[in-house]
């Protein structure tokens, strides 16, 4: 492996620092698990760098590794869907903010994943399709479904997420 490849790798993951955390958090829903997942993913990606054929595929490859790490951590802890316990105090003071955050937290993993990538990280539907490995129409359907569920939740209807 040449130095240029390493340099590009470190540059890419540094650029993605915030995105990786947000994505991991969307799956694990706790900061500690998200940190662990990102750490593991970075190490695994570094170790497996020689197997990556094209630098253009680094980002979706990295996100896939990260997703697998998140799932691995969740399996070990056998988590279901609790509310995040580590909501910052500043947010707890804002009653409507807390309700709204719970709506996203209560979504299923795949819907939450799409919502965070789209609304927080600003990826387009085409980019999300590449990162998550699903068709674009599936991404769009998931976003539409998330909107509908959150709207119903805010209107007080029951749903099963």
């Amino acid at each position: 492996m040449d130095q240029r490849t390493y340099d590009r790798f470190f540059s890419s993951i540094t650029d993605l620092r915030g995105d990786l955390f947000a994505y991991a958090f969307s799956i694990t829903k706790t900061r500690e698990d998200a940190e662990d997942a990102v750490h593991n993913a970075m190490v695994k990606a570094f170790d497996g760098l020689s197997g990556l054929r094209s630098q253009n595929k680094l980002k979706p490859w990295l996100f896939r590794i990260l997703k697998n790490e998140c799932i691995s951590i969740l399996r070990q802890k056998k988590r279901f869907a609790p509310l995040p316990e580590d909501i910052p105090a500043a947010e707890k003071r804002d009653e409507s903010g807390l309700d709204l955050a719970n709506c996203v937290a209560a979504l299923g993993t795949e819907l939450r994943e799409a919502v965070v990538l789209y609304y927080k990280l600003g990826y387009s539907t085409a980019e999300i399709a590449k990162l998550t490995g699903v068709p674009r129409s599936t991404v769009m359907s998931r976003l539409a479904r998330a909107r509908e569920l959150i709207r119903k939740q805010l209107e007080g209807e029951n749903y099963d997420g």
């Binding site: 955390f21 900061r31 990102v38 570094f46 197997g51 709204l100 937290a105 129409s137 909107r147 959150i150």
Partner: protein, 683 residues
């Protein structure tokens, strides 16, 4: 124009994801530092250029041989696939190889292989499936059952819904969740949760993805120099045991040999299958099935000791099932069976059966007789095909009330009506219409025998429900039950006569008239599908009968954008439901043997705030290709499609620059799509 919902979504998501904690930043920096150090170390350990070892030449010859041998072994351990088929060596390599997690690159290949194999099994494409497997995959029990499960879980599911399904090829979605992959030499074990989903369009609008199966799966994969192949699939489920070899069409699709059948232990599978059917269709039906399977088993050439074991199990199950039949209810089951049997017999013969000896004609039985008469008349008038025979099995499922005078109970029944069917230039086929239903009967225990005094079928969306609703309406207007029943019977009779007249008129039409009608008839369906897509359904049926030509290209892109604009949240659906589309010919503009071009007025009924109609004028060009006509030209002079005009203006610009119509259309779509995405993102 930004939807408020979009703002709300952004706020919610921002509130959900916390800002980067300090601990994360520290972790991140530390990890990057460590990895950079490792990268630097790996650079340092590379041998420096120009360095020479004076000792090497003396050991070079012996070392070269050792290195060559070590390299060969090393290659085999590093690339165990190379060793997979070398006798003796493969065993050694496998035994000493560590178990480790599969690499990302291998994981991708494995995922693709599994998806390919599972898709091919779902759609019974066994040639394609065979390429994914190692040899003789169907002779392995788990693979065989997995294939049966995958096929029936998806294909049988559609039979139990009343919703419209998209094309089967477009409607299967697999998701492999929680993939865990281990590698030991050239062998991989993959564990995952398989979610099988059906994506379907519902009547009245909307699309849904329905989970029809979620199972834990374990797949064993083997790799050689030619690639990866599946050795074994194990689907960890109970319900796939319901699937057995009993002559269902599924079996014909699978190229199993006699050995394949014999290798499948049918003890548990048969037992669970029988129980499943008994619960749903009645014990008597279950007993019938057991007897049938015993007869079939006795006929097949399996090993005698094998057959003896299985026959013994089946006989035991048969005795248990027969023991559960409650003898004292037999007379009631017999009269119920007589009632249902005569009902279908009337339909078969085209002549109303006699019921007066087993059924009292009163307000609670009148509508049952109205339906029976209508079915018999339909057959007599030639509006229904006659079946060959009637088979009915009835069982008392639940006793609701019993006194010395009467019994009220729910009866379950299963019917089978075989029809003879002769497709053009083909051999005769027997198609069996069958089903299972329930009916509540009140039976009087008179001195002269049993008499049914009330009949209440329990099924929705059937003719009886319509009859009941119509009769209720008349009773509420003050008519007696006798008058209401007669009025409903008269309406049904008139309906039959109108249908007969329509059939006679249809028979008189020339082929040219029929072709013209078919072509014009596409217009209503086309605009129905267009507005249906505009509710946010991207896979539109518009594509099924529209060929992509220069004259339809932009309309097809418009249909897609109509759906995507809703999915992006830029536009709310204009209405809740799209009911139906009709058309009226205004003027034929051109007609040859091959094509017809016409100005057509369409009307699509939609439901939102009340019912309204979307009226449009369109010019369609249709190619009269039997058996499926295709739309090859579309114009919208009333300019009321959602994005068509905008697309036309943009496409014209690209064509003026020399682009082909295909490129111009696609670029126009992408331009509009990008504009919609920007709107969605607050731009």
């Amino acid at each position: 124009m930004m939807d408020n919902m979009e703002k709300l979504m952004k706020e919610q998501t921002e509130a959900f994801v916390p800002s980067l904690p300090e601990s994360y930043s520290k972790m991140f920096e530390a990890t990057v530092s460590n990895l950079k150090r490792r990268a630097a170390d790996s650079e340092k350990n590379k041998p420096a250029r120009g360095e020479r070892s004076f000792a090497k030449p003396l050991l070079a010859a012996a070392a070269a041989l050792v290195l060559l041998f070590a390299a060969a072994i090393g290659i085999l351990f590093a690339r165990p696939a190379l060793a997979a088929e070398i006798p003796g060596v493969s065993g050694l390599v496998y035994s000493v190889a560590p178990t480790k997690e599969a690499s990302e690159a291998d994981a991708e290949r494995i995922k693709e292989l599994i998806e390919e194999a599972f898709h091919s099994l779902i759609f019974a494409d066994y040639d394609r499936a065979e390429r994914c497997f190692r040899d003789g995959y169907m002779t392995q029990r788990e693979n065989y059952l997995a294939a049966l499960y995958l096929y029936s879980a998806f294909n049988d599911y559609g039979d139990f819904t009343s919703d419209v399904r998209a094309e089967v090829g477009e409607a299967a979605q697999l998701e492999l969740g929680e993939l865990r992959m281990e590698q030991k030499a050239f062998s991989y074990t993959v564990r995952f949760t398989l979610d099988i989903m059906s994506v379907y369009a519902q009547w009245g609008g909307g699309e849904d993805t329905e989970m029809i199966g979620s199972k834990e799966c374990v797949v064993s994969i083997w790799e050689n120099t030619e690639g990866m192949f599946i050795e074994r699939i194990e689907i960890l489920a109970e319900d796939h045991q319901y699937i057995i070899e009993d002559g269902q069409p599924l079996i014909e699709n699978i190229p199993s040999t006699n050995e394949g059948f014999a290798l499948v232990p049918i003890d548990e599978a048969i037992r669970d299958y029988i129980l499943f059917y008994s619960r749903h269709y009645g014990l008597n039906y279950g007993i019938d099935m057991l007897n049938g399977i015993i007869a079939e088993l006795e006929a097949i050439p399996a090993a005698p000791e094998d057959k003896a074991v299985r026959l013994n199990i089946l006989q035991t199950e048969l005795e248990k099932a027969e023991g559960k039949v409650v003898q004292k209810y037999l007379p009631y089951e017999q009269i119920a069976s007589e009632l249902i049997h005569r009902f279908y017999l009337g339909e078969k013969n085209g002549e109303m059966s006699e019921f007066s000896d087993i059924l009292e004609h009163n307000e609670d039985t009148d509508l049952f007789l109205v339906e029976a008469y209508h079915n018999a008349e339909s057959t007599a008038l030639g509006l229904r095909t006659r079946c060959d025979s009637v088979k009915v099995i009835v069982q008392l499922n639940e006793l609701l009330e019993e006194t010395d005078e009467f019994i009220k109970a729910k009866f379950g029944y299963h019917y089978e009506l075989p029809y003879r069917f002769v497709p053009d230039e083909a051999d005769e086929e027997i198609i069996v219409m069958s089903g299972s239903r329930t009916v509540t009967l009140t039976i009087e225990k008179g001195k002269n025998g049993l008499l049914i005094v009330a009949v209440e079928p329990e099924y929705e969306k059937e003719l009886y429900s319509m009859i009941r609703a119509a009769a209720e309406k008349y009773k509420q207007q003050g008519y007696s039950w006798q008058e209401a029943g007669q009025m409903v019977a008269d309406e049904l009779h008139q309906k039959n006569l109108r249908y007969l007249e329509w059939l006679e008129n249809e028979a008189k039409k020339t082929p040219e008239e029929r072709a013209r009608e078919t072509a014009i008839g596409l217009a209503g369906e086309l605009m129905y599908q267009y507005w249906h897509s505009s509710r946010g359904i991207p896979d539109s049926a518009v594509n099924h009968f529209t060929e992509r030509t220069e004259q339809t290209d932009l309309f097809l892109w418009d249909t897609l954008l109509a759906a995507e604009s809703v999915l992006l949240g830029v536009r709310e659906p204009l209405f809740e439901k799209v009911e139906c589309g009709t058309e009226e010919l205004v003027e034929i503009l051109e007609e040859t043997d091959e094509i017809i071009k016409a100005l057509i007025h369409t009307s699509v009924e939609v439901k939102g705030d009340g019912i309204k109609h979307i009226e449009q004028d369109i010019i369609l060009t249709v190619r009269k290709d039997e058996p499926e006509f295709k739309i090859i030209g579309f114009e919208n002079p009333s300019e009321d499609c959602l994005f068509l005009k905008e697309l036309e203006q943009i496409a014209e610009r690209y064509k003026a620059q020399g682009c082909s119509w295909q490129d111009a259309g696609r670029m126009a779509y992408e331009e509009v799509h990008e504009r919609l995405e920007n709107l969605a993102n607050g731009g």
